[in-house]
Subunit: 287 residues, 2 copies
Amino acid sequence: MNQLTVKNLVKKYRHTTVLDDISFTLEPAKIYGLLGRNGAGKTTLLNIISNRLFPTSGDVQIAGEDVNNNDALLSKIFLMSEVNLYPREMKINQTFDLADAAYGDFDYDLANRLLKTFELDGDAKVTNLSTGQRTASKIIVALAVNAEYVLLDEPILGLDANHREAFYQELVKTYQEKPRTFVLSTHLIEEIQQLVEHVLILDQHKIIVDDGLDSMLAKAYTISGPTKLVDDYVAGLKVLKTELMGNIKTTYIFDDLDDQRPIPDQVKINHYDLQHLFIYLTDGGEK
Amino acid sequence: MNQLTVKNLVKKYRHTTVLDDISFTLEPAKIYGLLGRNGAGKTTLLNIISNRLFPTSGDVQIAGEDVNNNDALLSKIFLMSEVNLYPREMKINQTFDLADAAYGDFDYDLANRLLKTFELDGDAKVTNLSTGQRTASKIIVALAVNAEYVLLDEPILGLDANHREAFYQELVKTYQEKPRTFVLSTHLIEEIQQLVEHVLILDQHKIIVDDGLDSMLAKAYTISGPTKLVDDYVAGLKVLKTELMGNIKTTYIFDDLDDQRPIPDQVKINHYDLQHLFIYLTDGGEK
């Protein structure tokens, strides 16, 4: 299996720049979280990677070759998107056949088992499904399709907590049995923190974070205590947010923690989670 | 302020029972979580309470009086729903005026501040908004409307993590300044656990839990350790789910924890969260 490389992607619509010189690499057999606020450009990026949209400039390569109009390479990339591309009369079972025809070796056993997990009838027409059921039917295709790069754009739309949990468990299971690359683009950051190994954050049309999850979380910690002591300690560190309650100041840091530095007794250090890190990084600084 | 009482509500459509003898009470000045799987009947229930739908039998009372067609009582109840009830050309600002006309004393100061929080233009037409923007515009009305009972049906649809966090913070703030009753119906259970004081769970068209959050969570704990010891300890307790890894058994309990009972050294007790409790309670037993 080969790397997928996104190189200097730019996408402009008249006066609007949606993607502004985006470069990153997707490694084989890894689970990525693609995070961004509404309107940051996530869907456009995924559409370009899967050749549904053309970039203004830049390209997407697998093993050094441009995927654009290269059917052999494009058959390694699958996109599950919010848009419903199926004809009106299509049944869920027929969407499996379509994925089999396009990508080969569709995992019908897995798909049929997942129909039961998500309480779906394979003979139901896709257009007659509720939002949650339609999402579930697309998840089944995305987990059973034979592709090395599976891109999931908002894969939890309309799912209740039980079906979201089932989706996360099935994703991990199929990934362990047959490692391939998944890119999860979702607003439910708290829930996917346990799944993703690497995080890409798209903000204001640029990639602002491209880092391993563990490495990111190690840099995300709060320093709290008496204002003076906290101010002294955090001098020179990147502070994302500050809270003051009486004389107790809490600062949210995103920076390397220096283990060698002595910490005053009254100062406490705690870690915080990916969702809050994301919010503070993309809120446009302190408010 | 007075209690709102739901009494023996039944709603049937031909051969389908959507609500099966539902009774509970909403206290003044309390935040409720109304939880249920897709199709459990939550939206129907909220529509009946706010008089948008008629029940097959049973009624909704405030201070012992039926709210049905009682304008004085209905003006105490506001429903924010997924359905868009506004005419095509309506601007966000005009939805504020509508809420003011219907309920009086609309909090325009709060609404105008929240327009900035959610990055909305008050002169924008509701039909031109994205899903997340439309949700935000409805949240503003729901937080600024002058009603004693504010029912929120899926109030986070399409919101990114930043705007969800802003919504939760603003809800707590307005609740503290002017206590009234909120009912939050949502699938994002993990996120609202910090907000709600009381939980109603609707499953298979019936209320299966009507309890304070703290009381519920006190009963939600895992017992894990060597199989034999765990089996002995949990005998007689309500077990929602069991996991086995080698000889280590983990059981998810929903029952009173007996502090007096000695716990074997090798057995560990941990609490688990509301979202998982909900999933295990509504998954139809062990799978």
